[in-house]
Symmetry: C3
């Protein structure tokens, strides 16, 4: 079964920590050991793993992406969010995590982030847990 | 079993929509519910998910990548396609999708694209469907 | 079961070929056919697939990433490795490969690389093989 997480982002670009929701979902799914696939069905946001301590890291990631794909460059796509589409393909739409003892296997400094590039918005995150 | 899709790209850089082929393959595989892994066994193309409506989005993605890794920069690799290798690592070689009711679970605006960076060429795409 | 590979990188940025270790692990796991997930539990390195022949390709990838996220730019994160975090999110923390005849399915020119962005360091790589 695919589980749906609904989150709300609060600014145009944002790395929103969804680690607590993933952990909670795994508990409710009651899967002890396996693989969890996390997928965003959107084209202007992505999903990534990065540092959960200093919030400066998240700012640096977002600002560098703004530099690589500026919001106001001369794009063909005229909806004002071409940069968001580009960033989504650079970051990617899905991640795979392992599950052990009912919890996602993450490094000490790792958190799971929805990478919002065209917010603020309501976003869906699809999650599938496969026991192994 | 791994299934092979063969496609032909038509220009040096191109985002080629392979969503119809993925859907067709899922029908022939007769998997109702599961996970599908899509992988390119090449080092100068990648695979990504992005907008299936305005083709301008694809152009913007390709042009921004050209800007980040220009074809004619001063590279160590002298085969004229160093930029294609770099773009392949930025975009990634594989994606994971969910399957429900025998069809890939995609957002309204999502299409699956082979990201050609050193075409035109014949390209193989490897697909594995795992029922869950 | 999750298997752990331990490797040591030898410079600040490096694409370290881990293909031999992955092949060896698959042999010891005795899985003939399946999917293998490879994951780095770190936030300043990634994992990618690229050319296994000309080492110039690896240099070009690393130098372009240095150009996109320079080590000495004006970052919020003050530990001197903000660029490494950014590159990790651009490259990604995991890859998925297929297994056939007990060996990873790779294209002729493909190798699997740990992408070190803040070395030299000891790094862990988590691997899970799922028979299918």
């Amino acid at each position: 079964m695919i589980k749906h997480l609904e989150v709300r982002t609060s600014s145009r670009v944002q790395l929103l920590d969804i680690t607590p929701q993933i952990k909670k979902l795994l508990i409710s799914e009651d899967v002890i050991q396996g693989v969890v696939f996390i997928y965003v069905p959107h084209t202007t946001c992505g999903i990534t793993i990065n540092e959960n301590a200093d919030p400066g890291v998240r700012q640096d990631i977002l600002e560098t992406l703004d530099h690589l794909a500026p919001e106001d460059a001369d794009y063909k796509h005229l909806e004002g969010n071409a940069d968001a589409h580009i960033k989504a393909s650079l970051i990617g739409s899905s991640i795979t995590l392992f599950v052990e003892n009912g919890t996602p296997v993450l490094g000490t400094w790792q958190g799971v982030y929805l990478a919002e590039f065209d917010g603020p918005r309501q976003r869906s995150i699809l999650v599938k847990v496969v026991p192994t």
